[in-house]
């Protein structure tokens, strides 16, 4: 009896310990997590943690020094390139390991492995898009280039050295205590880095920047609206384009010719193919600005180069600031955790930056199989063989799924006609199920990382042009400036020669005439060196005027930021660094300036429903200077009004069964201002008994806006302030709100140079004066440490939100780096 008494509390304690040690349902093991020494408090970085250290690595004779400056930017000095990239990998892993792990897992469709069955659709989509195939192809290409292989292998070895990977520890010897906090919370373990993971990271970026198209939507729209209305609402080249390459450029080369065919109009409607997996419509929101001004326009007589890529804003940030110094290079800038080298930056001689080309490089082909085995498909009069990749999808707590993905010479069959989805019967009358192959240039063999490797070392314009020849996808506008005074911009990518309209709509995979015939030679891609206007710029707009001899199309060209930038640069002279910083912060809403006066004139003045509030709003909008500043009210009025009007105007396209895309802002403004008052699609479809005119919908949307403003005001008046209404949120990658920064106090919006929207924005702002020494500024909304328990996790966010910059410490000598270092890691 006494023994039972003694054992009972012990047993209860053991059971409690067991449960707290193993985690239940979606909870992590709470006991381990709460451990005040090895649990989450191990990630509570001590203020005094930053001490110099001598590190001697087993099985490695890497020599070099990492000088950490006061913002925790590493300045890596090594003699050999292998050692340089090894240390880049080592240091990046030290501060960003979880981010590198989750991004590459996401890219390869391996999230169900950690999070369970709810991620199966997402994983399947990644596999069907060919992400792993693409990464494997990229690694094969890297292996063919010994110099580049050394660089990527060194980076991989460095990451693995940090994790303690060796023959006895396949996935490293990090203890639970040393794991980044996210591994503890999500309850999984780090795994070793591979060349493939670097490949995956690059393809993840390719997908972010070029994994979009609206071929299926356009096909449906052309059928629904008819060719005339389609071209009216979705013109490929609307009036008023301000292209990247100025009009002075003469395209005096002999273009390569492809067979000319007129695209056929589809007979049926299609569902959005990739929706079959995730059922969310991803709208591309990426964009960017870059420009360079020539010596004749600047006060100090040196080019000034600027870049701000607008990507999804996350913590930890996509970017990691670094200086890389070896006997062959000295370069500073923003790197991508997971890839060696610097992506946007400068060295002692040149600076470069990128914006997304936004040209459509993803096309869809309908495939006709010979029989159910799908081993052969029709191509003209012949049958071609398919190959099948089996993609194993490991699912936590379930059996592994063996997902077959069939490949044609175009690319993977993303969507099988036979795939039964729950609602297939319901839609079978209006949509046809076809086998569709996706052709995406990211799946072609290429070696983009070589471009960055060479740009890191480029000395002049010729080096820059040479570096770009290795760059295929995602197509970018590379802006360039050199200390010697040269400036240039090039749109670089591997673009097929297309007939007019090719690739805008679904193509017929059994018709060889619809196949790519040849590619545009690199030297015929749009570029200009030292233009008369003494500046080059790009903001995702059309690359060229209509004299460029090749056809191209896009799912989303820009029409506003580019004009604001070009107008500003044209008018400026004696330019200094501060002027360029101001331009990056520019909040001018050109779209509003072009449409709002027109909308206001259409408001009914003698309406009975008029209230004080609506009068005030109207008055405020009339007086507005069209700047979307953080604490203004008018941008909120305008945006709510515009969003309501936009939704009302194109309500015809609110169809969940068939894939559509609504006209973009620019074409909508054009329709409002120039189409007839009673244009057929201005009508509201819900109200079948009457026909609304443009003035009706303008007035209705204005009234609706006033009501909404009234509602917001009665709850919390502060929410009318523009920054609160738009609410730029910088979410932690795992979407944990506690690790995120929300409702940032800043201005701007989409189509504004300061492109801070709800989720996206200037992810790295850089201004470089190419003087000697280089005078450079930069900031990104994050921090150098990926650890939420570090004061360096998000310490740049406020600086970024205020529109301020850090002076970038680009050291030309190691002595200088040593003098400025907060602490030093010496490897010997």
């Amino acid at each position: 009896m006494r023994l039972v008494k003694a054992l009972t509390p012990l047993l209860i304690a053991v059971v409690l310990i067991y449960f707290l040690n193993s985690g239940f349902a979606s909870l992590p093991p709470l006991g381990k997590l709460m451990d005040p020494v090895h649990g989450y408090m191990a990630n509570a970085e001590s203020k005094n943690a930053f001490n110099s250290d001598n590190i001697h690595l087993k099985n490695s004779d890497v020599k070099g020094t990492v000088y950490m400056d006061d913002r925790l930017v590493p300045h890596i000095y090594a003699e050999k390139d292998y050692d340089l990239y090894f240390l880049q990998g080592y240091v990046t892993a030290q501060y960003r390991l979880w981010q590198m792990d989750i991004q590459t897992r996401a890219a390869s469709g391996r999230l169900s492995e950690i999070f369970g069955e709810k991620f199966i659709p997402y994983d399947k989509e990644q596999r069907h898009k060919g992400m792993v195939y693409a990464a494997e192809t990229a690694v094969e290409e890297i292996k063919k280039d010994p110099e580049l292989l050394t660089c990527v292998q060194a980076y991989t070895d460095g990451i693995n050295a940090f994790m303690g990977v060796d023959v006895n520890h396949e996935n490293g010897n990090m203890s639970y205590c040393d794991y980044p906090i996210e591994f503890k919370l999500l309850n999984y373990k780090p795994e070793k880095w591979t060349l493939l993971k670097t490949g995956l990271l690059l393809k993840y970026m390719a997908s972010t920047l070029s994994g979009f198209d609206d071929d299926i939507e356009s096909t449906n729209l052309q059928k629904l609206l008819g060719e005339e209305n389609f071209n009216l609402l979705y013109p490929n080249r609307p009036a008023g384009i301000d292209p990247i390459i100025p009009l002075e450029k003469k395209y005096d080369f002999i273009p390569v010719i492809a067979d000319s065919t007129k695209p056929q109009i589809a007979e049926l409607y299609y569902k959005k193919v990739l929706n079959e997996f995730t059922e969310t419509h991803e709208k591309n929101q990426v964009g960017s600005n870059n420009w360079v001004v020539g010596p004749s326009k600047t006060k100090n007589g040196f080019p000034i180069l600027c870049n701000d890529p607008h990507l999804q804003l996350n913590l930890p940030s996509l970017w990691y600031e670094i200086q890389l110094h070896s006997s062959t290079s000295n370069c500073y800038g923003a790197s991508l955790p997971g890839a060696p080298g610097i992506v946007i930056g400068f060295n002692e001689n040149i600076a470069w930056g990128v914006t997304n080309a936004q040209v459509d490089v993803r096309d869809w082909y309908t495939i006709t199989f010979k029989d159910e085995s799908k081993s052969e498909y029709q191509y003209g009069d012949t049958w071609r063989k398919t190959t099948t990749r089996i993609e194993p999808i490991i699912v936590k707590g379930q059996e592994t799924i063996m997902e077959p993905v069939i490949y044609t010479h175009y690319g993977p069959i993303v969507y099988n006609a036979e795939t039964e989805t729950m609602d297939s019967k319901q839609h079978s009358e209006i949509t046809e199920r076809k086998n569709m192959a996706m052709r995406w240039s990211a799946l072609q063999p290429s070696i983009e990382i070589k471009t960055f490797y060479l740009l890191n070392r480029a000395k002049n314009y010729d080096d820059y042009r040479e570096a770009l020849t290795y760059y295929d996808c995602p197509a970018q506008n590379f802006v360039f400036g050199a200390h010697d005074g040269d400036i240039a911009i090039t749109q670089q990518g591997k673009f097929p020669v297309k007939y007019t309209g090719e690739g805008r709509f679904i193509l017929n995979g059994s018709n060889p005439a619809d196949d790519y015939q040849t590619y545009i030679p690199d030297e015929q891609n749009p570029f200009i060196k030292n233009p008369e206007r003494a500046f080059c710029s790009s903001a995702n707009q059309h690359p060229t005027d209509s004299t460029y001899p090749y056809y191209y199309t896009s799912y989303d060209f820009e029409f506003y930021r580019n004009r604001v930038i070009n107008n500003t640069l044209t008018n400026l002279s004696n330019i200094q660094v501060e002027d360029m910083q101001h331009l990056q912060q520019n909040n001018f809403n050109m779209m509003a300036s072009e449409v709002l006066p027109f909308l206001l004139t259409h408001l009914n003045n003698n309406e009975n429903a008029k209230t004080n509030l609506s009068d005030n709003i109207k008055h405020s909008l009339t007086k507005w200077n069209y700047y979307n500043h953080a604490d203004s009210l008018s941008p909120t009025y305008f945006q709510i009004w515009w969003d309501t009007l936009y939704a009302t105007l194109w309500d015809e396209m609110d169809n969940t069964e068939i894939a559509f895309v609504k006209p973009n802002m620019y074409n909508t403004v054009n329709a409002i201002k120039n189409f007839s008052e009673n244009y057929v699609y201005f009508d509201i479809t819900k109200t079948t008994d009457k026909k609304e005119s443009l003035s009706d919908v303008i007035q209705m949307s204005f009234n609706a806006m006033c009501n909404m403003v009234n509602n917001i005001q009665s709850k919390n008046p502060a929410e009318i302030l523009w920054y609160q209404h738009k609410s730029t949120d910088i979410m932690h990658i795992s979407q944990i709100p506690a690790f995120s920064k929300t409702t940032i106090h800043n201005g701007g919006y989409r189509n504004i140079v300061n492109a801070s929207s709800e989720t996206h924005g200037p992810s790295w702002r850089m201004v470089v004066e190419l003087s000697n020494p280089i005078n450079a500024y930069g900031v990104y909304p994050g921090g150098q440490s990926g650890n939420p328990g570090s004061k360096y996790f998000d310490n740049f966010v406020d600086t970024w939100a205020k529109g301020e910059y850090y002076h970038l410490q680009f050291f030309t000598t190691e002595t200088e780096a040593k003098k400025q270092a907060q602490f030093t890691l010496t490897f010997n």
């Binding site: 509390p9 304690a13 709460m34 509570a44 996790f793």
Partner: protein, 114 residues
């Protein structure tokens, strides 16, 4: 007096053990042994002493780490678990672990009496 000394010694041992042994439940055998060698009058008393030892040693460790970190991590974790403040998070976790330590102490008490 002897009991007070044992409590203080246990807390010191607990703090050291938690610091150097990566087993979060290492306090459990410590309170068990402490109760085994201490002449507690009642089981209830041994239980509360167990709770006290664990609670105090965990709080010491939490607060020590937290001060050096300016509460950056703990504030975020409190937010994550929807707890009012980081101190409350420490108190809740230390009390929960204290209960486990109390149970093993109680068990130690009964073993001693046997």
């Amino acid at each position: 007096m002897k009991i007070v000394l044992i409590i203080i010694a246990s807390i010191i041992i607990c703090v050291l053990a938690q610091s150097f042994i990566p087993l979060w439940w290492i306090f459990a055998p410590i309170t068990f042994v402490a109760a085994l060698i201490t002449p507690f009058k009642t089981g209830l008393r041994s239980f509360f002493v167990g709770v006290l030892i664990v609670f105090v040693s965990w709080m010491i460790l939490y607060l020590f780490k937290d001060m050096a970190n300016d509460s950056v991590m703990s504030n975020k974790m409190a937010n994550l678990f929807s707890v009012k403040s980081n101190i409350w998070l420490f108190i809740i976790a230390s009390t929960l672990m204290g209960l486990v330590g109390g149970l093993t102490a109680l068990s130690g008490y009964f073993f001693r009496k046997r």
